[in-house]
């Protein structure tokens, strides 16, 4: 297949940046989206041009490093798929494809499609843990966690921290990301001791880092490659209210 790409090019954080057009010729439908970009890059290098910079690493949809908005949608249009797992058979021959970086105030663009997501680490550092020291913990089976609770916790824990939820949100809210960690720990016995401080500290960090608040658009859930549900935002809100009682 032959495609026309319109890719956001930006030399550095201070540069204005603009969309550049590149042809992608003889693309195999079995290629992943990033493999297609690899080929375009190899061609650019041979022409002596700077290749397109983009974040990626595991290329199996779990590390959360890849982060491109494809045709206006974070990670592209395929449901529950990271852009590294998006395959070219999802596109029509002859299509125009617009590729942009995550756009959010808290994610400054570094170069081309690469943004700085360290604000998410700051939210985690604010309280996304149980304060247990290495060693000196109880036997794993002394904490009984019924399957439905463990499953609920795991559903939340699947978040890969890619930031698509923020890129999709009109408020650039990190509520889905934050709630996933709050909810994962809040329902577990080992997470309850610090539940109150955790929800307060993490939501405060979220706002301090420049993310907006949630106004129930649910775009985050739609964009999430792991299908994290907005029900966890409700859990976060309940935990938040509970912290004042």
């Amino acid at each position: 297949m032959n495609l026309t790409l319109h890719v956001w090019r930006q030399k550095g954080p201070q540069d204005k940046g603009k969309l550049e057009t590149y042809p992608a010729k003889d693309v195999s439908s079995d290629m992943s989206f990033l493999e297609m970009l690899d080929e375009v890059n190899d061609k650019l290098i041979k022409e002596g041009k700077d290749p397109i910079a983009f974040d990626h690493d595991c290329r199996e949809g779990i590390c959360g490093m890849c982060s491109s908005v494809v045709n206006g949608r974070p990670h592209g249009h395929q449901e529950k798929t990271t852009v590294c797992q998006l395959h070219m058979r999802q596109f029509e021959d002859g299509a125009d494809i617009v590729v942009e970086p995550w756009l959010a105030k808290a994610f400054p663009i570094q170069k081309d499609l690469i943004v700085d997501r360290s604000a998410l680490d700051v939210i985690m550092q604010a309280g996304g843990y149980t304060s247990c020291h290495t060693g000196g913990v109880v036997d794993a089976n002394s904490l009984l966690i019924p399957k439905p609770v463990a499953d609920f916790s795991m559903d939340a824990a699947e978040c890969i921290g890619c930031g698509a939820c923020i890129a999709a949100c009109p408020n650039s809210s990190a509520m889905l990301f934050t709630s996933a960690k709050v909810a994962q720990l809040a329902v577990l016995p080992q997470g309850k001791a610090e539940a109150k401080d955790r929800v307060l500290e993490m939501t405060k960090a979220m706002l301090d880092e420049g993310f907006g608040n949630c106004t129930n658009h649910y775009e985050c859930q739609e964009a999430c490659p792991k299908g994290i549900s907005v029900k966890f935002i409700a859990t976060l809100n309940r935990e938040y209210l509970k912290s004042f009682t």
Binding site: E35, P51, D57, C63, M124, Y129, P146, V149, G191
Partner: protein
């Protein structure tokens, strides 16, 4: 030189407890005077950095990813072993120890494996305390599944994302220490040199991947937890950025590389489908719990739809050859059997390099919903990549490079032959021998990080004065100059080929000649081809852009340059080891029915190689292996 692993003597059951008691301690108020550099923040590095910081040491941690949460430990799917014996099916620390030594084909150090088995239970407790949501039953107890090479169910799991959940646990412990300012985190930073002062590791030189700045950091000890090296095959299940660079730069400063020829080619990966492919995707070994592996008995059936091949015309070759382990035969054996079937002309799919992994019987027995619950995410992933539905027709799988059992040589304290340089996790060599069993990589990474290095680093630190060498020492300036010189050289070549084209060429040579079946002839051919590709690289590679900028081509070029040297050492190791063991299969050394034939009389040692210059034969040092608890035996899974 004969190397001493300094393994404790006496009864194995008490070896770790006695060693811990014998180790010197660092007084709590003195710990804050020491600075430890941790390179890599996956399971081993993340857990190690967090645990050392909790003890009061100052830690500076480095990773090339934008966050420690993305280390490639995250890719591990199936699970983590522990000798909890919760199912009461006959497991014990001794059995986990025995299975791991046997699974490694008797090429690991007994005392290290014992320690791993002993602390495995602490790991599960630790992860649960962190809030890792392991699979549970309805009563709330932890669930277990089976993995290859074991006849007990000892694998704990979190759906098909166990590595992710364990890594996020370590990352959360690390995040807590970053907030407490006990760890300074340097993401998007790649180690490009080890600074050695008077024979002792005293720091590292790194490149800031966002700005291109080269800078040095001093430390009282340097700990490498930088993962494995199988991207030397180009196509592998590793992350794109996984490299041998940190380990290799240490080798060039005098560290020994042990057993690099022990590479694991994992049996259940999605087959290669095209020239443009950038990586291979693993399908968890746990699928072999419920999937049956087969190929047609007759080559002429290979192009048929699998449902048209009658039951009696199918060869369930693992069940046939290894009836007691069946589809759960260890990885090296399963991979080789798949290759044999395909070499025999009975492979399926494009290029005939594939075998079927069939869930039909399990779906009939358990229902599709149960299979979906167990492996749903893997079936989804398979469909995204291949456009085929694994519930409706058998998956196609083929072996792919997955793990390097070899790594930097370390003694029982995880210290390399360079004092002050410690190595953890996949980056070291000590516990998996010649073949790693499933669900033990996560176990080793976390064992080393949480429960080994916090103890074993203390005797070294207690023997030195903190802060005596800092980055104003001339060796640091020289290290920065060397790194800048290599960077400038790479950018000045201006040739015609891209980095990935040359990496792909190297990978083809390695997979064809130093892959699942190795012969003297193929290894010698590889030793001829590798220097040719390396020469071409240094004369004809084209890297655009500048050094003082975010430059991903330059990053890759540095990694591939190191693989082009490392590949030669790996192949030299494979050529010297005139026996077959685990993942190292020399076609000259096999039994009549095609099983690996070890030579314990001549090769019962770890081979640690000393770098003597690119293109120069490295010098071999041996660490003899003693088996005092488990009798050396032919490894049989029949």
């Amino acid at each position: 030189m004969i190397l001493d692993g300094k393994a404790p003597t006496g009864p194995i059951e008490t070896s770790w407890d006695r060693s811990r008691f014998d180790m010197k301690l660092v007084n709590p108020s003195n710990k804050r005077k020491f600075k430890i550099l941790m390179v890599g923040t996956g399971l081993a590095g993340g857990a190690g950095a967090a645990s050392l910081a909790e003890l009061g040491y100052n830690v500076e941690a480095f990773c090339y990813q934008d966050s420690p949460r993305r280390a490639h430990s995250i890719g591990a799917q199936g699970g983590i072993n522990a000798a909890k014996n919760y199912p009461s099916d006959g497991d014990s620390i001794y059995r986990l120890f025995y299975d791991t030594v046997k699974g490694g084909d008797f090429r690991s150090r007994e005392a290290d494996v014992w320690r791993l088995a002993q602390v495995s239970n602490n790991i599960i407790d630790q992860c649960v305390a962190q809030g890792v949501p392991f699979a549970r039953d309805y009563a709330g107890y932890l669930d277990n599944r089976s993995f290859g090479g074991a006849q007990v169910s000892r694998t704990f799991y979190a759906r098909g994302q166990t590595g992710q959940q364990l890594l996020l646990g370590a990352y959360s412990a690390l995040s807590r220490q970053i907030k407490a300012k006990q760890v300074t985190m340097h993401p998007r930073t790649e180690m490009l040199d080890l600074v050695v002062v008077d024979g002792v590791a005293k720091g590292i030189t790194v490149r800031n991947l966002m700005t291109g700045e080269i800078e040095s950091h001093w430390g009282d000890a340097v700990v490498l937890a930088t993962g494995g090296y199988v991207n030397v095959f180009y196509l592998s299940t590793m992350a794109m950025g996984s490299s041998v660079t940190a380990a290799w730069k240490s080798v060039k400063k005098g560290a020994y590389m042990a057993n690099p020829c022990y590479t694991q080619i994992h049996p259940t990966c999605i087959p290669v489908h095209g020239e443009h492919q950038s990586k291979l995707t693993l399908m968890s070994e746990s699928l072999r719990n419920d999937g049956r592996i087969w190929v047609p008995k007759k080559a002429e059936d290979c192009d048929k739809h699998p449902s048209e091949v009658a039951e009696e015309d199918r060869d369930y070759y693992l069940e046939r050859k290894y009836p007691s382990f069946g589809n759960l035969a260890p990885r090296d054996i399963s991979s080789r059997s798949a290759k044999e079937a395909c070499d025999d002309g009975r492979g399926v799919g494009p290029g005939k390099r594939g075998v079927y992994l069939d869930f039909d019987d399990s779906i009939k027995r358990l229902g599709e919903d149960t299979i979906r619950e167990r492996y749903g995410n893997l079936f989804e992933m398979y469909e995204k990549i291949t456009d085929e539905n694994g519930y409706e027709r058998p998956m196609r799988i083929y072996p792919a490079p997955h793990y390097g059992m070899g790594g930097l040589w370390v003694d029982y304290q995880c210290q390399s032959n360079i004092p002050g340089l410690f190595v953890l996790g996949e980056a070291n060599f000590s516990v998996h021998g010649a073949n790693r069993l499933g669900a033990s990589a996560l176990m080793q990474g976390l064992a080393d990080g949480y429960f080994v290095i916090p103890y074993t680093i203390a005797p070294y630190l207690a023997s030195i004065t903190p802060g005596t060498v800092k980055d104003d020492h001339p060796e640091f300036k020289k290290s920065i100059e060397d790194v800048e010189a290599q960077t400038n050289k790479l950018l000045s070549i201006n040739g015609k080929k891209t980095v990935s084209e040359l990496h792909r060429e190297l990978g083809q040579v390695m997979f064809e000649n130093v892959g699942m079946g190795r012969s003297e002839e193929s290894l010698k051919l590889a030793l001829k081809r590798i220097p040719e590709i390396r020469d071409e690289f240094w004369n004809n590679v084209n890297i655009t852009g500048e050094s003082r900028d975010l430059n991903q081509q330059l990053e890759n070029a540095g990694r591939v340059a190191d693989y082009l040297e490392f590949a030669e050492m790996l192949t030299t190791d494979a050529l010297h080891r005139e026996e077959s063991c685990g993942g190292h299969f020399r076609v000259e050394h096999q039994t009549e029915d095609g099983e690996a034939m070890r030579d314990d009389e001549n090769f019962c040692y770890s081979a640690a190689w000393e770098f003597k210059g690119a293109g120069v034969k490295p010098e071999l040092h041996k660490e003899p292996l003693k088996f005092e608890n488990i009798q050396l035996a032919v490894r049989s899974y029949k």
